[in-house]
């Protein structure tokens, strides 16, 4: 019998804890507010070029929120 072998598969460190998930969702809401603010008030078209990064942030936060809500992590 090999004694060096682990008796059970190694558990990995949790990648997402409740405070982190909450922080990410809060950041996502902030980014959504910034997006709405730009769409509503901006007079310079250059600000709209920030939409890809803002949208990615919002979608990422949404994904984290949903996965946390479903207890995926």
């Amino acid at each position: 019998m090999n004694e060096g072998r682990d008796p059970q598969p190694r558990r990995r460190t949790p990648v997402l804890t409740a405070p982190v998930a909450l922080g990410v969702v809060a950041a996502g809401i902030m980014l959504l507010i910034v997006m709405i603010g730009i769409a509503w008030r901006s007079t310079n078209a250059a600000w709209f070029l920030l939409f890809p990064v803002l949208l990615m942030g919002v979608l990422g936060a949404l994904a984290v929120g949903v996965l946390w809500g479903l207890r995926h992590f």
Partner: protein, 232 residues
Amino acid sequence: MSTCTALGFGGEGRSAFRDTEEGETAVGPKSLSLRAEEADRLGMEQQIERSKVMVRWIVGAALFASVLYLKSRGQLPVPWPTVLALTAALVVLNLIYWRILGRAAPRWLKYVTTATDLVLISVLVFFTGGVASVFYFAYFIVLVSNSIRYGMGLAIYVATVFNLAYVAVVYWQPPGNDLTVEAVKILTFWGVALYAGYLAMRFQRQTRILEGYEETIARLRAEAATLKPQAK
């Protein structure tokens, strides 16, 4: 990179090994294995960043030569002090990174080097025609170089910093009222970043699977070797 060499890293490297998944001080074989994995990862990052320093010398020299050539033909209205200041900044930063890498590869270093690369390229793009600059392609060197080496996380980071830096360039040097072309450029960059990150992620997964197979084969060989004398 051998584990023994990597365990000799100071600062960030040492503190990274301190805790196990149980949140206790590392003592058992499991935590030793985690230490070795962390040391290997840091050793790998040190090698990657060293390689990036070499690539930065080559790309910097190529860009400098291109600027000189275009200036000599009168096709680039960028002033000499700007060219020299950018080159000097690149040289100084590269020397600082090399010095840091002589001791260890801190976790934050890859983010700093990538961000400074993108900022320097943005300054170059700004002074060489803004959105019409011929040096726009240099962003892709940073993107491909980092996403292939580090994976999806860095690819998204590069795309985010590029997005912010390029908007700053467009804001300070607007090409006109219609920014459709610039939007397409940014979206294309995001597309390339996500695709490169995805490919790197697949490659990393396959590498891990292969390592698992190699470990299994080695273990089975060792077990077979211990069983042979008993069979006789």
